[in-house]
Amino acid sequence: MSEIPGEFAQTFCDILINISRGELDEADALLDKQLNNHETNTPCENIAENLKTLISQLREGVKFASALSEGDLLYEAPRNFYLFSDYKQLQANLRHLTWQAQQIAKGDYSQNVNFIGEFSAAFNQMIEGLRAARKTQEQLKELYATRDKFFSIISHDLRSPFNAILGFADILNEEWEELTDTERKTFLQNIRNTSHNTFDLLERLLEWSRVQTGKMKIIPTRVNLGNLVRENFKLLAPTAEGKFIHLVSEVAEEFTAWGDKVAILLVLRNLINNAIKFTRHGGLITVSAAAMHKLVVVTVSDTGVGISAENMNKLFRFEEQLKTEGTDKERGSGLGLVLCREIIDKSGGRIWAESIEGEGSRFSFTLPLNAPTQDKP
């Protein structure tokens, strides 16, 4: 093995000291001197060449570190930069973090930062906060839309009938003597009918408002569906009889489900009432219930006029508030099905409709068959 002469060893020691102090220019100058003064292909020259490479890498490393410290993430560090590959890793992480921040700024809150422990935790917490804020914003937007719709219903749907009632009342008040008995009776009937419809609308609005504000609490218990259907039939029989409509319950006497009694009663009443409204004289309305897996499917079907494809898409939607006259010109608030959907949603079920125009409709909703814990193995 070749020996390194003593004076060279001293020079290399000096070079290493220069490097350790960061005095790279001085180290370079000593190396150049060494290389110029000695023969090629000697151990000294090999050591000097390798030290030159090391110094060159160190210079690049210093430049790179300086660029990073100044925030220049696009700095193009050279290849074969193995001594400072961790700097490059850091640069890659910072570039990715920048891209993620840009995506978050554009509203993509699905980003999950994985950079440095505490920093990532704080950053991800911030994204979580943004997600929550967006959710609140969306809920507020929905709430404002609902409020606007509520005011619009009050201003339009309540104002018009009151105008009519006032108009009829004014005529009766001012022209009582001139009117015939038949005319008086007609005006009084108009007042009664309009008041009845308006009261119905008010009731729906109040029920809907109670659901919206959480005042209508859904407290599920075991309920007898057969009883609820019978109770509704009793209430609605006079209306159905007025149109010679047959009400048939196919729900077994002891058939039960898991739900809130008052809420289900309300949903059934709305669906049966609607069915009566849209079924011609002499028609048939059937209520049935069946257990399917862990659910109960309740269906109200009629042999009525059915629903057009266009209107099917508008059912259950508050913003659409579909109002269609019944077969006997019955008026509706357009809120009944919206109310049903909200109640069934809150009861953990689903509601839907099927219809063939001219042949009839089927409105179905689901309820849990048992209390959630009862279904667990």
């Binding site: 290849r79 074969n80 193995y82 590959s85 961790d86 890793q89 890659a92 570039r95 891209w99 993509d108």
Partner: protein, 173 residues
Amino acid sequence: MDKSQKYNFKWKDLGDISIGRPNLGPLTQVAVYRLMQYTMRDILEKKYGAVEANRIFHDAGFLAGTEFCKNTLNRSLQVNDFIADLTQKLLKFGIGVLRVESADLEKFSFMLTVSEDLDCSGLPFYGVPVCDYDEGFISGILHMYSGRNFDVKEIDCWGTGERTCRFSVKLVN
């Protein structure tokens, strides 16, 4: 050279691993994958030279990328969601940790990094990038997703002493 082709790759050729390996399962060691990849490279370079071997690896990666995209990724997603899906799938299959450094969606150009890359992470220093297969793989995925052609170039690699592979992706006009 015999130009007749007797085989065309199909995704189903990967086989039903659950039936075929009931005890060993779907996983193997990265070293085994690399053993195949680098012995293959050795033979290909000996037979066809380094440039042609690189091209073969690139083209095989491209075919793999198109099939991977077709069979595992949701191509109906918007770009950002597609990249998120791709990132998840690359993690799931243990291929690497994909990250986006920059993206110009108008020009369809990206700077991507892949850490813990299946092909190269942990390799000795060669002084040259070695992920030709990865270049083709990324290019194939993006081609299958967008119907366009991409030029994917590896800028940094474990083979050149880096800790993260960096790929520049540009749309080919």
